[in-house]
Symmetry: C2
Subunit: 316 residues, 2 copies
Amino acid sequence: MNTHDFYIGIDIGGTNTMLALVNNEGEILKKYSFSTFADRSINIFFSNLEKLIFPLINEMDQVRGIGVGMPGVNSETGLIDNSVNFNWGSVNLCRELKNKFQLPVSIINDAKAAALGEMAFGKARDLKNFILITLGTGLGSCFVFNRQVINGFNGMASELGHTKIAKENRRCGCGKMGCLETFASAGGVCRSVFEIIGSDKKKTPLMNYSFNEMTSEIVTKYAAQGDETALKAYEKTGMVLGAKLADFINVFDPEAILFSGGLVAAGKFLFEPLEKALDENLLFKHKNKTQIRISDPNVNYAVLGAATLFMNQQEI
Amino acid sequence: MNTHDFYIGIDIGGTNTMLALVNNEGEILKKYSFSTFADRSINIFFSNLEKLIFPLINEMDQVRGIGVGMPGVNSETGLIDNSVNFNWGSVNLCRELKNKFQLPVSIINDAKAAALGEMAFGKARDLKNFILITLGTGLGSCFVFNRQVINGFNGMASELGHTKIAKENRRCGCGKMGCLETFASAGGVCRSVFEIIGSDKKKTPLMNYSFNEMTSEIVTKYAAQGDETALKAYEKTGMVLGAKLADFINVFDPEAILFSGGLVAAGKFLFEPLEKALDENLLFKHKNKTQIRISDPNVNYAVLGAATLFMNQQEI
């Protein structure tokens, strides 16, 4: 290791991709963001990536590796196989990127990357046993036990977003019905808004947005103004997510649940109903034992965690 | 360690308690079983235990310790605090037994004891990552990751039996509604029989049994004769349990799920619908990856696993 070594961390999300140049101290020296276009050809993504990475590599001759976090990827093999929310089919992303950039590349699940970043530089520096939940386009999860990430036997652990929720039955992008992320994600909040408008038809400024225009940021804005439909959409999200997490607290008894991703910006609109649902669904002996922590929304820990994959001194 | 050392292993179940004298090779030299009387005073239990243990200690001067497995116990402290299915209130069982028998005592969750026993002597000798499910009076669970048992931050991990099932709403002994073990346990099968008789009223010899007389063994006997009510009760159990386990395979991607406990004697009546429900609820990438293993029904691995707590050479 050299103090002048640099690393590229990439967080491929269902909506946007973040890319950063990181040093050994976890400082982000440069960062970029672009639309992933997950519903279009992967070649568009590669083209956007090349425009950013080639200049970085040419400018910095000590880029030691490229670490990537992405939903649905196999953390052992770097293979994507019809990942939910991505229209990229089956591809060996790790090999493709190695060939393109002639650098060491490592690819892991995005929630795992976030967990590594939080353990190295964020809100999990002191935690041994925790569950990390990322609330973005979809819902990602990573279980950490004795500071080791649970990868699973086939490298495919972490699909908490596709566990089934009680008494609800929305169609999920994975093809199944009733998955948690159909409610507990930025997309889920927007779906709830549309269901509530359809069901309650209470006058709300949210009626001015098409489904394609709607974002969780818009819903949060109106929730902050006291709009009942917006508040109800977050209440639904918090209740469904809290009830499901109670199951996992009952089973794993973690020290903390750490929430990250764009949706945590909703703050109390999300976390008050979530904590209420936890309380209602936890066994007595588990009540008020597990901390709720919220990641720093100004830092992308998935990018940092992906970059740590090539930092020898980091505990990963 | 001395090859002439002996250990007492105890498995306290909601219905029966098993006690065995075990040597370093995991051989059971003597074994006893008695009614736990979990719904009565703990003093009755202590009295029955003393009648068995004092003669053993007097006869064998090299009993090195007493290991105990029990549902709902805190694996870190040995405390019982209003364990579901036990009417014993709050008690420091570990301290009570140490005082009575003047021997080292260690108490852990019964499913954890079974997992340790299976890793040392049973069907998990070759497994690194697996979920153990015990199907007895209730439903116990233990998650093993890199051959380490997940204890939880407060020593209270493993309550898979009290996770919530979708679309079903039976009252559980824990006070909540819709817990998995209200269906997926010996008691759950009996409850299903009564619901099915009430709903279908199809002629069945099971109509000759009161609820207090009904056992899962009786239901299995009639299932083997093709009785539709008995088969439907097992189908319900398998479907509910399989759907829930699919959630945990989606999240943990284990190498195997290992089933133990009295209910596994139901064999295909339980496991055929369970495997069907797994297939229906698993994400595509998780289908047919996780092995289903069934413990040897003739060996009580919880007793052996509890005994291993004092065997230095065992990996625990």
